[in-house]
């Protein structure tokens, strides 16, 4: 059964006023500040949509507007991402069977507001916020857009304390780092666009971006653009991987930590990287019974200290194991795990069934690179960085004039390096506009030093290998 958290060892949930909306004729009680999808999950709705061809039930998966599992019709508008749509009293929400229909009396478009800035930043997570802060401090006129109604990217659900050096918020929880960055940017004169989706970037002598928001649209002209769009959670192929109850690790963190909604009681986690290990600990904090963390590799991918935290609370970590299938008619009722051989093939007869209602995937991320690719940036598939990434140099410049990329969108790494990359990109963008180049160089130099330091250990070898491949191409094509 789903439940709302009222007490938590780390978090305090500040819920808004009670709100009520209609879901297929049924009244749903919710709180202002919650997403529609979170409110539905809290009310026991597990099927948010159906697949187009086979009408298979689809449930909450990513929680940040990147997958399409929660597309619903809201107040007559089809294909609304309900996970990034805030609850409003009196709204009418319906599932689509299977596709939504455009209302015949729909107005083509709202008025388009024009906005001229030096630097436009896409994404208000750790990379985007850091970039906006540095560029604003150097005197650039900055606007920052985010799809979500709550800025801060994934920091707002990171309850654990960060590693790193004192200069990089070591020992501070991600949720607190988000507050620090947001407070700092709010004290500067940047323009905020919330619930704002960047649809396209047309590059001429300047960047012209079309930005869409419910009831509003912007046409943004900018000298430079920093793409800090983050990443999307990976899916894993296995039978019934689309059943409601199969969720991305980040999606579940969003539900639990941003909205205080725990959608189940017993969990299996697939993947023992830092994300899977940290999530297991967070589930224990929320009172969930974590049956196991399975890892297909012969060793843990994440830090031993994160593994130790869950082992001493009794959670088994099963190496050379993977999920074979999810079991259930309309939602996850159990999961079958299996041992694998040295070629990662399931060993017959080693199957084991676990009594779980949540099957959580922590199997990596893929960079969100739609905007640079649409704008014509050169890219390459770099497995060490999580997939397709725009070619970029160490100053985060892409092959498109005036376009930078930072954070997970430039290759999957983590939040500390995202903040440092953001600072470099923000400072470089400002200095290219002729704003305080000497001061910008100092910011870049210091951020690069910290980045080198942070990446100096064995856990960064893989990322560095990927980055070096990209930098090498960049030397030829960017100079």
């Amino acid at each position: 059964m789903p439940r709302r958290l009222w007490e938590h060892p780390i978090l305090e949930f500040e819920r808004g006023a009670e709100a009520e909306f209609l879901f297929e004729g049924k009244r749903i009680r919710a709180y202002e500040g919650e997403s529609v999808a979170a409110a539905l999950v809290a009310s026991g709705v597990t099927t948010l949509a159906w697949s187009c061809k086979r009408s298979r039930p689809r449930g909450f998966f990513c929680g940040i507007g990147k997958c399409s599992s929660c597309l619903m019709t809201v107040d007559g508008i089809p294909n609304v991402r309900t996970c990034i749509t805030p609850v409003r009293s009196g709204m009418v929400v319906e599932r689509q069977r299977p596709l939504g229909e455009l209302p015949t009396d729909a107005q083509a478009s709202q008025e388009v507001e024009e906005l001229d800035v030096d630097l436009f930043i896409v994404g208000a997570g750790p990379a985007g916020l850091s970039a906006a802060i540095e560029a604003s401090k150097l005197g650039a006129k900055v606007a920052i857009a985010d799809e979500n109604f709550r800025p801060g990217g994934q920091l707002i659900k990171q309850t654990h304390k960060f590693f790193g050096s004192r200069a990089n918020y070591a020992g501070v929880r991600g949720i607190e780092i988000a507050r620090i960055l947001l407070r700092e940017l709010q004290s500067l004169e940047a323009e905020w666009l919330t619930r704002a989706t960047v649809v396209s970037d047309y590059v001429g002598s300047k960047h012209t971006l079309l930005v869409d928001s419910p009831g509003r649209a912007w046409l943004v002209r900018a000298d430079s653009v920093i793409v800090a769009t983050g990443a999307m959670e990976n899916m894993l192929p296995f039978p019934n991987n689309d059943l409601p109850g199969v969720m991305g690790a980040g999606g579940l963190q969003t539900l639990m930590h941003v909205f205080g909604v725990v959608p189940g009681e017993r969990a299996l986690i697939v993947g023992a990287g830092n994300v899977g290990l940290i999530l297991a600990y967070q589930l224990l904090q929320a009172g969930v019974d974590v049956k196991a963390v399975v890892e297909i590799m012969p060793k843990i991918g994440g830090y031993a200290v994160h593994a130790a935290k869950i082992r001493r609370m009794g959670v088994p970590i099963l190496l050379r194991h993977t999920v074979k299938r999810a079991i259930g008619a309309r939602r996850v009722e159990a999961a079958e795990i299996v041992r694998v051989d040295e070629n990662f093939r399931p060993i017959e007869g080693t199957e084991e069934q676990l009594d779980v209602d949540m099957l959580i995937l922590a199997v990596g991320l893929t960079p969100s690179t739609e905007i640079p690719l649409q704008a014509g940036a050169q890219w390459d598939y770099v497995p060490e960085l999580g997939g397709p990434v725009p070619i970029h140099d160490q100053l985060l410049r892409t092959t498109v004039d005036g376009m930078f990329v930072a954070g997970d969108a430039s290759g999957i790494e983590e939040a500390t390096t995202a903040m440092l990359e953001g600072r470099i990109a923000g400072a470089k963008a400002a200095s290219e506009l002729g704003l305080k180049p000497d001061k910008a160089d100092k910011v870049i130099e210091e951020a690069e030093r910290q980045l080198d330091e942070f990446r100096s250990g064995p856990f960064s070898e893989k990322v560095l290998k990927g980055k070096r491949k990209v930098w090498e191409v960049a030397r030829e094509v960017i100079g």
Partner: protein, 159 residues
Amino acid sequence: MSAEPGVIPEDLLQRMLPPDEKAEGRTVAVIECHEEIPCDTCRWICPVGAVIKPTIIAPPAVDWDKCTGCGTCVLACPGLAIFMVKLDGENAEVSVPYEFLPIPQKGQVVWALDRTGRKVAKAEVLRVVTSKDKTSMVTVRVPRDLAHVVRAVLPPGRD
């Protein structure tokens, strides 16, 4: 490579534990962090400079002569990998980081857990300190032979 994933291998562990005479009658830190991860919170948070960590990547070591057992590092370590141990005749005091609910109360008897979550003893809670950022340090009394075995306590009511 540990046989038990997530449990520190015995040979590495032995190098991290203080010799008995350093912990006899006085509380000292035990840092169970052996990987080269980019973090040096324990080094700069220590008020007496008792954590030796030449680079951000180097695994930490404790100078047990300098360590005063204040517990600052236990509350600060982002990996929750630092514990406090005091040997006291037949008994020992073990302090563990704790981030669950409910927070045990002084005088309460809780289950002490080993590195795999096995219940190894019923232990009396001697002290609880909670930091501003909501990490607690729970100190329990255990038999001396469990000084380097107990590394967690079960949240009351979860057994």
